[in-house]
């Protein structure tokens, strides 16, 4: 009996380890081949060199795409934080008819196929003649980033003890001052988490970028996409590693902020 349990347990462990290895392997492989000194992607790389990183950081085209991505992601983070925060406050602290509908509307981009949003906005932007502008892409990315902000900020608003705010009020603070000095500092991890999350959501997006950017001013993912069609150039591996570091670091910080949030205040 016991032997059967442990042999089952062993089989489970082996299977799970294999699945986990497959999950991490592609990322490790890209990481390693990005340091190859050869012209071709070789695994394991026959040596170590930073030549493909030099190729990336020395190339005007790649740098322009990187700049576009950072600018768009930064602006998206700001826009979605402001809008997402307003929606969260309305959802948590107000009662009004159609609230469930509002929540459904705001959260639906999370499950709606992104291509639908891309096509719809493409039709709109062509009509408004703003296709390919930075602002237009920021708006599109905000639509898909706001649900994450709302998810994080509403969770934090619910767990915030409102009696703290009332205490500040009864001690003579104005409503604005109470919010500024008591509520906002408590929401700081959620605000940071929401901002980072929307930054990464924008930074990683490919589908909206494919439809809504100009070829002369692509985001980083779109530039990768274009280059992948043409060559298997190790520069793409270097760029991919760079992108992975940015998004993993960003979302890891979100997780840390969430942990802080969960600690009793």
């Amino acid at each position: 009996m016991n032997a059967r349990i442990s042999s089952g347990r062993l089989a489970l462990a082996i299977f799970s380890c294999a699945v986990l290895a497959v999950l991490i392997a592609p990322i490790l492989i890209i990481f390693m081949v990005s340091f190859t000194p050869t012209e071709m992607l070789e695994f394991p790389p026959p040596g170590f060199s930073l030549r493909w990183y030099e190729a990336y950081f020395g190339d005007a085209m790649w740098m322009r795409a990187t700049r576009v991505s950072f600018v768009v992601a930064g602006l998206t983070a700001v826009v979605s934080l402001v809008i997402g925060f307003a929606i969260s406050v309305a959802l948590v602290r107000y009662r009004f008819p159609g609230k469930a509908l509002l929540r459904m509307l705001v959260m639906s981009p999370m499950i709606l196929p992104k291509i639908i949003i891309a096509v719809g906005l493409y039709f709109l932007y062509v009509r408004l003649r703003i296709l390919g502008t930075t602002g237009a892409l920021v708006v599109a990315h905000s639509i898909i980033a706001i649900p994450y902000v709302v998810m994080i900020v509403t969770a934090s608003l619910y767990s915030f003890d409102r009696r703290l705010e009332w205490a500040a009020r009864s001690l003579g603070a104005s409503p604005l001052k109470a919010v500024w000095l008591v509520t906002l500092p408590n929401l700081r991890p959620a605000i940071l988490g929401g901002t980072l999350f929307s930054f990464v959501a924008s930074f990683d997006d490919i589908i909206l970028s494919l439809f809504l950017t100009r070829l002369t001013e692509p985001t980083l993912p779109r530039q990768i996409w274009v280059n992948v069609q043409q060559t298997i150039d190790p520069t793409i591996a270097a760029v991919s590693t760079f992108m992975t570091v940015v998004s993993v670091l960003g979302l890891w910080l979100v997780a840390l902020a969430q942990k802080r949030l969960k600690r009793p205040q």
Binding site: I24, I29, K114, M151, F211
Partner: protein, 300 residues
């Protein structure tokens, strides 16, 4: 992200408390929402309405040509069927692998589980494009797998992995597996393990305890994970586009081709409406089984 999902349960509880405190009785519409609603009407509502409108509006006014083209051509039907089957196979693979991994992680030493969680979270946090590109590097004609097979003398000429169903299914399952693992893990983590011990004490075999106690309790995680994987799976664009050939055309891919190459907006819009109807009916079905109030941090 795992933390967020875990937190949602608590928020629902505190929501109940705050509404009982009844700070604001009766309705009062928050005025600051007006610009937000205008933003959503213009950049989310209008585009969706526009897709419906565009699908029945051609060069000479009202038309159903887009839908007619779809209905009359079996090849287009096959694309829809292929998309659905792809979603289902991906779902089956992620469910089996995800359930095993999540169960293993939940039942092991906590310290180790946190460490091994990195193997799930790092891919989950990485960009989908990068992770798909990685499979191109591995499975390509001159890719790592082919080079390795040739070096060890197993094959003489490189095998064509790209453009096969296997490559697309595999990469899609790879992309979606972390979603499944995380939603199962967060539910399994909340199950009181004493229930299993109680079942064992009452004479159930480990297998029976698992089947009659643990398995039913993980139902919410299975449903939420399956829902997420299937919805994301049928809407995926980059995986079939990068790793598939003409045979692996999915509905999202066909929409993109109509816009970028064929420039047929009416047909593209009709296909988008069909994709919307498919996901919409999935959503209606899911509404019956899933507690979205909890999934999305219910605001009461």
């Amino acid at each position: 992200m795992a933390d967020i999902t875990a937190q949602l349960g608590d928020t629902a509880a505190s929501a109940a408390v705050s509404s009982r405190l009844g700070w604001l009785k009766g309705g009062r519409f928050p005025v600051f929402l007006v610009p937000v609603l205008i933003f959503y009407a213009l950049f989310f509502g209008y585009p969706l309405v526009r897709i419906f409108w565009q699908s029945v509006y051609g060069a000479d006014g009202f038309t159903l040509i887009g839908f007619q083209m779809f209905v009359e051509e079996p090849a287009y039907w096959m694309v829809l069927v292929y998309t659905g089957i792809l979603g289902l196979i991906t779902l089956a693979i992620t469910l089996v692998c995800g359930y095993a991994v999540a169960y293993w992680l939940v039942t092991m030493d906590k310290g180790w589980a946190v460490l091994l969680m990195a193997f799930v979270l790092i891919p989950f946090w990485s960009s989908g494009l990068v992770r798909t590109y990685a499979w191109l590097v591995i499975l390509g004609r001159q890719g790592i797998l082919n080079s390795a097979l040739i070096k060890f003398g197993l094959i003489d000429t490189p095998l064509a992995f790209i453009g096969t169903n296997t490559a697309v299914v595999f990469a899609l399952a790879y992309y979606l597996l972390p979603y499944m693992i995380l939603s199962l893990y967060s539910v399994m983590n909340g199950i009181d393990r004493n229930l299993l011990l109680a079942a064992r004490n009452l004479g159930a075999s480990p297998m029976a305890a698992f089947r009659h106690v643990f398995l039913p309790l993980t139902r919410p995680g299975v449903l939420a994970g399956s829902y997420m994987v299937f919805m994301l799976g049928i809407g995926m664009y980059i995986t079939p586009a990068m790793l598939g050939g003409p045979e692996q055309t999915t509905l999202p891919l066909m929409i993109a081709i109509q816009i970028n190459e064929a420039m047929d907006w009416t047909f593209a819009a009709a296909l988008s409406v069909i994709l919307l109807l498919v996901t919409g009916s999935m959503q209606l079905m899911a509404n019956r089984f899933l507690d979205f109030e909890r999934l999305w941090g219910g605001a009461k």
